[in-house]
Amino acid sequence: MHLIRRLVLVFSFLFVLLPIKLNAEPPNDTDVQAVPVPTPRLDRVEQPTGTYRVGEMLSYRIHILWPELPENVRMDSPEIQTENLQLEGVRQETNSTAENVLGKGIEQILTFQFLAQKTGKAEISRFSLRWNQGDGAVSSQIEVPAVRITIAPASKPWPVILGLGTGLLGLLFGSITLILNRKNRKRAQVPNPTVLSLEDQFIEDANRLYHTHELKPNPKDFLEGLTRLLLTYVKQKLDWNPSQGGYNTLEKKAGERWSQKEAARLRELLQALEYERFSGTQTSADNVKATYEKTLSFINQRRVI
């Protein structure tokens, strides 16, 4: 916790120093007017994936979109609950050019670096970013998706030495072969890691879930999984926490950020899932498929927008 506070202090200092200027006029001292606080939005995340070793650093990049950046907005200490991971540092980049996805606003990229501590399961279970208006009142909050990874043992030195030695020998042999045969080699291109949008991620996860359901049908489990995916998506897109706000709050947020029609459709979707899961009626295979297709259709439409 002490380390996290220090890091955020440093981070907040950097935030103040950033030369991001707005066209807003300086406030008139005689008029006290409420300044609307812009709300940040989670655009996408680049989660650490795969297997890491003990002592290895892993990065979690979070892309946040701001419509504009006023003064007096400070980031609070992030609320992070981790298991077997230690927060080592935070980096920040901004991109205020017209090249960002929406064509306007400011993209803030936060890179949180964690150190894997011991072998086994590692998790970032709760990750919240909060901003305040300088008076301490929370003005915005973003929930970042949880992550689960596996930590493998740290590699022992002697296999590394052995490997290095073998490698050197191989290099030597290869160089001699090259010189003798005079052949060109192509270097393999390391493909850039593809970063999926939230919608693409949802569709990929939902398809995987449906495929699992088709192999071993279990409507309750499938609908529960689909609801979780949808709630996670909505949490990231609309900054709505299902544990806190009701559907009225959700519909209002969706109406503000998207359209009233989409907000109503989202609410209907969630209520339909509730009906299938909690009404006590037997869910038929047709109903399951129809619900799945309706959900995918909604997300696909969001993707297009």
Binding site: P242, S243, G246, E274, Y275, R277, S279
Partner: protein, 329 residues
Amino acid sequence: MDTTVKQVGEQVKSAQGTTENLFREIGKVIVGQHYLIERLLIGLLADGHILLEGVPGLAKTMSVKTLAQSIAAKFQRLQFTPDLLPADLIGTLVYNPKDGAFTTKKGPIFANIILADEINRAPSKVQSALLEAMQEHQVTIGESTFLLPEPFLVLATQNPIEQEGTYPLPEAQIDRFMMKLNISYPNKKEEKEILERMSTGQKIEVTPVLDTQTISKLRKIVNQIYIDEKVKDYILDIVFATRYPEQFKLENLKPLIAYGASPRASIMLTLAAKAHAFLKGRGYATPEDVKQIGLDVLRHRVIVTYEAEAEEMTSERILGQIFDQIEVP
């Protein structure tokens, strides 16, 4: 089970018109306070008593009186004072010198809806008499036991301002109330409408839209409302988190909670969620119902420590953290 659930769903849908009429009728007199009216109906349908807390002048008495009128129920307001005796509440035996016999004179508690105003101003023996009646739905006068009329609903109020000379309800007694509601001020638009309605001197008549027998039938429907295992587990997770927060990754709350919610809280939360689902026109309860009603059912059941009081950490803030943490099914 499918048929039963469907039948209940249909019964709920057909009762929707009745509850809408009730809201409309009450709305003729009471401006705004939708939250209060809704919770009063939940208490009525789930057979749960309600503790109301709010400053004077928020239409608490008027809301309860209007509710009683709209369901053709007998209403009795009892002003609790420090000199009140249990006999003033439940009744007593009166000696008749003509025939030398004792006759029972029933007290004002024999009504459908009781408004116990400023319950914390009466001494504990009077509070106990009322709370016993609330629990048992009967009173004993002399050697005879008398059943209270059905439906029987007690709405008790506490004034949060004046604390001098009061007898705070013990926690064990507060636990018997299904919900504790914090009544807030109306907004400007609502208050303007209140001015316009109440400053003319005209009395607004309330027409009964239901009777007590219909209320009993509606209660039976509410009792049959379906609640899934996942929703029950959600309720239990919330209640258990108030007792053992460390088991739910809420270690920071452990030093702040002296006593968590009791098993009565689980029962009350389930009943209230069912009643909430009924008012929303559903024959099944969802986690949304539990979230909407949870704070009202639990805020008076979580006892905080001195440390929490020093940190100005109320039971509501603690419950807020618990609701944030517990995953919705």
